[in-house]
């Protein structure tokens, strides 16, 4: 493992030299075929053995990024995170050695991979993306001196990662909360809806998994609904199964629940968590019932037909996580930085859905949606 990692680091160092190497190969070892290829391989081996690993490590910051799984929001947030790091001057192989670990939704695997990475040497920072990765890492790093920054976590308090949002915790952890307060989403929805003529509340169905963030999100929505007579949440929970291999089984169960629940609700509300992240979930809702989706979980849901989306901006989450990482790498203790939500959010409107439902979108929502208006 260490040898592989060392080789990886050498390659990382050589990446900036890639263009120079290509020029070298073109001019010094021209041609194709067996002999030039062997020469190039031999040259690469020599260079790799010559480049000393110590030249990399002493000055470069060693950062581990632990990702829960490769779902779109995680990928998108990580993409923006890396871009922001590059804009801050971090160059992989020169002053940054970023070791990305995909725990593939498996906590045990996450613990194993992260433990091996930590054993290879104390990192300067551990970043976690999504709730499961953050929980796994925090269980290993709590009480140590290794700083940790999380992002793509919708409810870090509920997940047991931090004690309170918006307040510096004094520990070796901080992060970017990846959620819009459920009350805000509810208010936005209410702004568009009109109470039915019979005076009954609008019924909104939610089919969610037992994934921690999903459970936490739904729990808070239900608490809000309990205080508003205009709406009523009708919730069904299915067991979470690890994605992607467990996804079809979960979707099958969702399909069954949707069929059962569709006559009882006016709209669907997509939950947070891995299940709500996948497109097939939205399609399952739309294809197995006539009930429109009031609140999608991601922009793709709006594109497919969901009336609304109010979610944290992936760009904002990724970039602000990078700013936090930069501050920590430059010496600021994470315990002095309060975990806060990302400062920007995304609103999406499906105008066709609105017209179909006879819903008039106010001008100010149009302005907030910007380009995220789909027909």
């Amino acid at each position: 493992m260490l040898v592989v990692e060392g080789l990886q680091r050498r390659i990382d160092v050589l990446l900036p030299l890639r263009k120079s190497l290509e020029v070298f190969w073109m001019h010094v070892i021209p041609g194709k075929g067996m002999a030039p290829t062997l020469l190039k391989s031999l040259f690469l081996l020599v260079v790799l053995s010559v480049v000393p690993s110590v030249a990399l490590a002493d000055e470069a910051k060693r950062v581990i990024l632990l990702e829960t799984m490769q779902v779109p929001v995680v990928r998108e947030n990580s993409r923006w995170f890396i871009r922001q790091m590059e804009e801050l001057g971090y160059i992989q192989g020169e002053n940054l050695v970023l070791h990305v670990i995909d725990m593939e939704g498996d906590k045990g695997k996450g613990e194993q991979l992260l433990g091996a990475a930590l054993a290879a040497g104390k990192p300067d920072l551990v970043l976690t993306s999504a709730t499961l990765a953050s929980q796994t890492a925090w269980q290993m790093l709590a009480g140590t001196e290794t700083p940790m920054v999380f992002f793509t976590v919708s409810d870090p308090v509920g997940a047991g990662i931090i004690e309170k949002a918006g307040v510096a915790g004094g520990k070796n952890i901080t992060g970017i909360i990846n959620s819009i307060s459920p009350i805000n989403r509810v208010n936005l929805a209410l702004k568009l809806l009109e109470r039915p003529a019979n005076g009954k509340p609008v019924r909104i169905g939610i089919v969610h998994s037992s994934y921690p963030s999903s459970v936490s999100d739904v729990g808070r929505l239900m608490a809000i609904g309990a205080h508003h007579d205009e709406i009523e949440f009708v919730v069904r929970r299915i067991d979470y199964r690890r994605v992607p291999e467990g996804l079809p089984e979960m979707l099958s169960e969702v399909k069954q629940v949707v069929s059962e629940l569709s006559p009882l609700v006016d709209f669907w509300w997509e939950p947070l968590g891995p299940l709500g992240e996948v497109e097939s979930y939205t399609r399952t809702l739309l294809e197995n019932s006539d009930t429109p989706i009031l609140m999608g979980n991601r922009m793709r849901s709006v594109e497919l037909g969901a009336l609304l989306l109010l979610s944290p901006s992936s760009e904002a989450s990724g970039r602000e996580a990078a700013l936090l990482a930069d501050a920590v790498l430059k010496g600021k203790p994470p315990g002095e930085i309060a975990p806060n939500p990302a400062k920007r959010f995304d609103i999406g409107i499906n105008l066709s859905t609105a017209l179909r439902l006879g819903i008039t979108i106010p001008p100010d929502i149009f302005k907030l949606a910007g380009k995220n208006i789909y027909r």
Binding site: L351, L355, T360, I361, P362, P363, F366, I373
Partner: protein
Amino acid sequence: MRLQTKAVIVLLPMVAFVIMFLGAWAIQITQNSISKSIINSIEAELSGYVDDTLVRHHAILEENQLTEVQSFVERFQKDALRSASNLHIHYENAGLLIFDSMGNNLLGRRDGVMGPAEKIAWSAVLELGDLDFSSDGAAKTGYIKFDGHEEIYVMRVFVPWGWRVIYTISSEQVSDSVARIRNGTIAAAAVAIIVGFSLIFVFFKQFFLRPLGALRQAALDISNHTGGKSIAINSQDEMDDLARHMERMAENLAQSHAQQEMMNRELENKVRERTIDLDMLNKILLEENAIRKKTEKQLRKSQALLEEAQRIADLGNWELDLVTNELYWSDELFRIFGIEKGEFGASYEAFIEVVHPDDRERLEEAYALSVETGEPYDIVHRINRPTDGEIRYIHERCEQIRDDRGKPLRSVGTALDVTEQMLIEKSLRAAKDEADASNRAKSVFLANMSHELRTPLNAVIGFSRLVRDSDHLTEKQRESMDIINSSGIHLLRLIDDVLDIAKIEVGHVTLETTVFNLHQMLIHVMDMLRQSAEDKQLNLSFEKEPGLPEYIIGDEMKMQRILLNLLGNAIKFTDAGDVVLYAGCSDRDQDGHFHLRFSVQDQGRGIPEEDKERIFEPFVQLGFQAGRGTGLGLAIIRQYLDIMEGTITLESLPGEGCRFDVEIPSQVTVGVDGQEVDRPPRKVIGLEPGQPVCRQMIVEDQRENSLLLQRILERFDFEIRAVENGVEAVELFSEWRPDLIWMDRRMPIMDGLEATRKIRVMPGGEDVKIVAITASVLNEMQDEIMSAGFDTVVHKPYRNEDIYSCLEEQLGLRFTYDSSEGEEGEGESELDPSLLDEVPSSLFESLRQAVLALDTEKILMAAEKIEPISSDLATAIRHEVESFDITSLMKFLDKRSSAGDSGSRDI
């Protein structure tokens, strides 16, 4: 009219007009600006609403293709009207109206009152016809009547929706603003007029009127001659400059006035001083005239005196004009030359004719050289007086007088008749030559006499010696022969005295110091004179003070001669009674210096007071001495004492005898241990058995001294090596490692002090014994020697015993001594008599004769001849001569004689 009044009349209307004009102009400008500003402001507010709300709402509908969706359009218009009702309106009494394309009033606001237009009172009187409803979208501005009042309006038409948006404001609000400004402007203008005029007047008064008043007063003071005061203007401007100019003008006028008065006073003073000076000059001229007359009189008198003095001194003077060749002679010069004034040609050539022919060329050369070089000359020449033919000696001096460029002008000179002096000098020179010849004859006589006397005396001395050594003589005879011998020697010395006195006169006698036994010398002197005293039945006695040192450093020969002469004279001139020799000394200083004191007292006739000094002159014999001596004795004594820095005094009373007191500086001898030598050294005859063989190095640059030391040491089985300077000594020491070094102090290349210092720091240098050999007896020199690292010092001249004693002390050697020392052979030579066997008889006889004759030169000549035969013998003979021990040498030669008698091959 005063300037102040004029200023008020001119300035006040001018200031009032300017300020009022400016005020009116400002009011008009301000009114227009305010109106325009208000219109621009409400235009901006109106445009903000239309562009930000209406245009943007419509754009959203368009972008999303909702312009035909009535629900969205209505919702957006509704939202726009809500925004208008919430729009902030800046001005009071302003209104906002929105009409649709049909003229329906959609919104009306006035002073915060909101509601449909028909419910608002003012809308009933709004004359819509006054509005321009053209729908080009641009802002329209104009006036309308509202409720009987004129109002300003600004209107924008939003074409997509056909909306007219109207913003109105009461024109009175504009007028009120303008009126407030106008009133304020008028009040400010009034204040400005008062303040401006006051400031201008104060300024005018301060900077113009007051300085003008000061200048006017200053001008009055100047005209009254009371100017010069400072003008109180300090404004640093043209007025200030004018004031300063006026002050300087006043000062200049005052100074000019003062100078004029001072010049008048000076002129008066000068006139008075000139008058006094003229009076003084007149007096001086009168006095000078009197002095001149007196001087002329004195000059004539001096001239007469000069001529008289020249006549008395036989001194004449002359002067030759080299340009005209005219020659001037003084009267005395004519007299000296024996020429009458009329007979002399009065030229240089005529003068030369008078000069003696033998001196003429010399004189002409001297004169020509003097004229050429300008140097004076001084010459004595002879002249032939033309009148009587007498030859006279003239001492002539001449000097040249030249002009500024060095050209000779005149020759001036004096001529002194020195004929008498020349004749005297000539006779004196002849007398001196005669005396010198006589003196030379005396010297020759004395030399001849001395030689003639020495020859028989040598025989007397030699044969008396031989007879004395005969075994057939009684003791009495032997003593008599000794007396004959010693008296002969003394007589020989007396002859030498005669020569010495001559030498003394020419300074050829020097001090010859040596170490000698004073007691023995005194006994010897007494022995020599005892027979003479007994012959005259005189009591000759010798008394010495306790503490008189036995061995001293001094010139023994001269001391002995002084005492012999004094005692001899005492015996000679005493008929009966006692002749006593007292010997004593003063206390010694730290270096052993002291004064020997001898007194010789007799009971003879005494010496008269007037003769006490004369008797010390050579060849002087007083009446009672006639025919009883050479007359040299006391003279030699005094000369010797002078050389020895001693003194002699005489006390005498006629008929009671006399006493001569002699005091001679002397010094006790110091041994190797620094102690006075109180006993004669014992004679070393050998080394005790079992003594080590020592290595000894001699460092001495004088070959003779080095050889002498070698001879002294070679008697024993020492290893001896000699070098000549300190460098060689250091080198030899490192190679040879001697046990003892005899180191001379003064040497070339490297002296003994430095060599000793170097040796002391070399390996083994601390253990070697180093003995300094020095001729110095000074204590400070001894300190320097010891501090250089020497172990001890031996002083020159040293004796054999000094060397042996030093070896005993430094190396612990033990010598054997001659037990018979003192019984016989005191001062006997240490030479081995067998050495004489090698000397040929003729050479031996020459040496013997030289010894008997006490002729040291011949003895040394004989030693040179002996050198090739036996260098040791020659060295020993030289040593004896240098040690003045001729007696030992005689005894040594006698041994050869005795050996010869017993069967020598030569005799």
